[in-house]
């Protein structure tokens, strides 16, 4: 894994998926939320794409940190602080690590991101937030890495696990975010942020071996 180019691929895929799914994420958030998730993510990640060339690329950690600052500062709603925190925490782990990042480091980055989100927004597992998707997804990655699978295979099982976890939020009662105000009525539809994470994971899996990723790797 050539860390910077992987980070670039991952960030670009997340950003592009957020922009492409503006309407879908908005609709998901309007079932029991307030419908702004798609708009917030799309506008914020548009800025990431617009400023793409300007981010410091000293190393993967620095790159992720610069992206995280943009997301934290420029995305509105709950998503800006939450997603921004995730990027900033991942960046810290990456920066603390010298040299190339391995699968274990990616898992550590994700765990730190989750802790950051919990600290920032006060949510726990089971509160029907994107944490309930990030956690099983991270477990799947950890297991894939432990059993020596290749990147594409790891990502595929991460995506499958994210999708299943997103669907598993359907019967939960929302205890955080706008959906929480509806109490029992939040039962019956999946958490919007959680589905967004699953859609992004699927995009990463689908494109892992695509020329954009592999050529980028080669180019570096």
């Amino acid at each position: 894994m050539t860390s910077l180019s992987d980070a670039e691929f991952i960030v670009r895929t997340i950003a592009q998926t957020a922009v492409d799914n503006e309407k879908y994420f908005g609709d998901l958030d309007s079932v029991v939320g307030d419908g702004d998730l798609g708009f917030s993510l799309a506008r914020g990640f548009e800025i990431v794409l617009k400023d793409w060339d300007s981010f410091d690329r000293t190393d993967a950690g620095t790159f992720l940190q610069k992206v995280g600052i943009t997301i934290t500062g420029r995305i509105g709603g709950t998503s800006g602080p939450i997603w921004g925190t995730a990027f900033l925490r991942s960046a810290s782990v990456a920066k603390a690590h010298d040299g190339e990042l391995g699968g274990d480091d990616v898992v550590a980055m994700l765990r730190s991101a989750m802790e950051g989100i919990m600290a920032r927004g006060g949510a726990s597992l089971g509160d029907k937030t994107l944490l309930d998707v990030l956690a099983p997804m991270t477990d799947a990655i950890e297991q894939g890495v432990a059993t020596g699978q290749g990147g594409a295979a790891v990502m595929a099982s991460a995506a499958a696990s994210a999708r299943a976890a997103a669907e598993a939020t359907t019967p939960m009662i929302a205890k955080r975010g706008r959906a929480a105000y509806t109490g029992e009525r939040s039962i019956g539809s999946p958490d919007a942020g959680g589905v967004a994470v699953a859609v992004i994971a699927e995009a990463l899996a689908a494109n892992w071996d695509s020329p954009e990723h592999t050529q980028q790797n080669t180019a570096n």
Binding site: D34, D36, T78
Partner: protein, 331 residues
């Protein structure tokens, strides 16, 4: 969607531009941060007061910037808390030697943006305090939720601390006053129709032709339950009873009574609601000393209304009566 809108993404900036053009002598618009501030700028003799929130609640808060009210407002996009940068930049622009008071309706996104901006501002040496507003009785204040929402009651907090700040109160004093007003303010709303965010282009939820949504928030989030439309007398009971019993308001209390329109309900209906609510309160021995009827905190084009009660004491009543001047006016 039938609205006066060009590019939905430019809805908020175009509205803010119009607001600034209509009030060239009193307001400054900083497009980069969705920021509306007093043209006169901050003064070191006065604490600066800022409120941010999602857009779509106009006149809250961009249209209540002016003497006796806010020094600046920094809205996010429609129903989205402002990005942290907007809040941080606003804080820097209105920085005063007496400090900056940030007023925040209690929503996760807003809390986080303002928390982070406050941290950055403090690190810059700016004195900042943040006051959270949570007047909505529709939301149960139990441990597992994020607490109550801030809705139309925020008007009274702005008005009270705005008046006190103008009179020279310091930041701690404003916090005390603001917390006191929050502690005696309660609201409850209901929707007759859903609202349509420009970027979504369709109503946020579906309501049948005879259905209403009770306990709705100001972001088109569905409320606690659905009911059939009923005569105004009953609708007023639905709004007033949980407000009265929550604090509770009791015989002998003096109150301010606000009937707030959610954006699509004409003022004729709001006055009709006011008359009913006024009579019911007086019948309970609660005397209405100040009345507020109109749009204070809306939810785009949603038809519906909320009722807010504030229990008055001499201090609060005096602050509410103090003069103020804002960009929205009819003269």
């Amino acid at each position: 969607m039938k609205k006066f809108v060009n590019d939905p993404q430019q809805f908020v900036p175009e509205m803010l531009k119009g607001l600034a053009l209509a009030n060239p002598d009193t307001l400054t618009y900083v497009p980069e941060y969705n920021l509306i501030m007093r043209k006169s700028g901050p003064s070191d003799d006065k604490v600066s007061i800022v409120q941010g929130s999602g857009s779509g609640h106009e006149p809250a808060h961009v249209m209540v910037v002016g003497p006796g009210m806010l020094d600046a407002a920094c809205p996010g996009d429609v129903f989205a808390a402002p990005p942290m940068d907007y809040v941080y930049e606003t804080t820097k622009l209105v920085n005063s030697a007496k400090g900056v008071l940030l007023l925040v309706n209690n929503y996760t996104g807003d809390r986080m943006a303002f928390d982070m901006a406050q941290e950055l501002s403090l690190a810059d040496g700016i004195t900042v305090k943040t006051l959270f507003i949570d007047d909505d009785v529709a939301v149960k204040d139990s441990t597992w939720t994020v607490g109550r929402r801030g809705v139309a009651g925020n008007f009274f907090v702005i008005k009270a601390v705005g008046a006190a700040a103008e009179a020279g109160a310091d930041l701690d004093e404003l916090m005390r006053i603001g917390e006191k007003v929050v502690s005696v303010t309660r609201s409850m709303g209901l929707a007759l129709t859903a609202c349509t965010p420009p970027a979504k282009g369709a109503p946020l939820f579906e309501l049948g032709p005879d259905e209403i949504e009770i306990g709705v928030g100001i972001h088109g989030e569905p409320g606690r339950r659905r009911a059939k439309i009923a005569p105004a007398n009953e609708l007023v009971d639905i709004l007033l009873d949980p407000v009265i019993t929550d604090l509770p308001f009791v015989a002998g209390d003096r109150v301010a009574l606000m009937v707030n329109g959610l954006g699509g309900t004409p003022i004729s209906e709001l006055y009709l609601v006011y008359g009913i609510a006024h009579d019911k309160l007086e019948a309970l021995g609660i005397s209405v000393a100040r009345s507020y009827v109109g749009e204070y905190c809306t939810s785009l084009d949603m038809a519906g209304a909320s009722i807010t009660l504030v229990k008055l004491d001499d201090e609060i009543e005096g602050l509410l009566a103090a003069p103020a001047e804002v960009g929205v006016r009819i003269f």
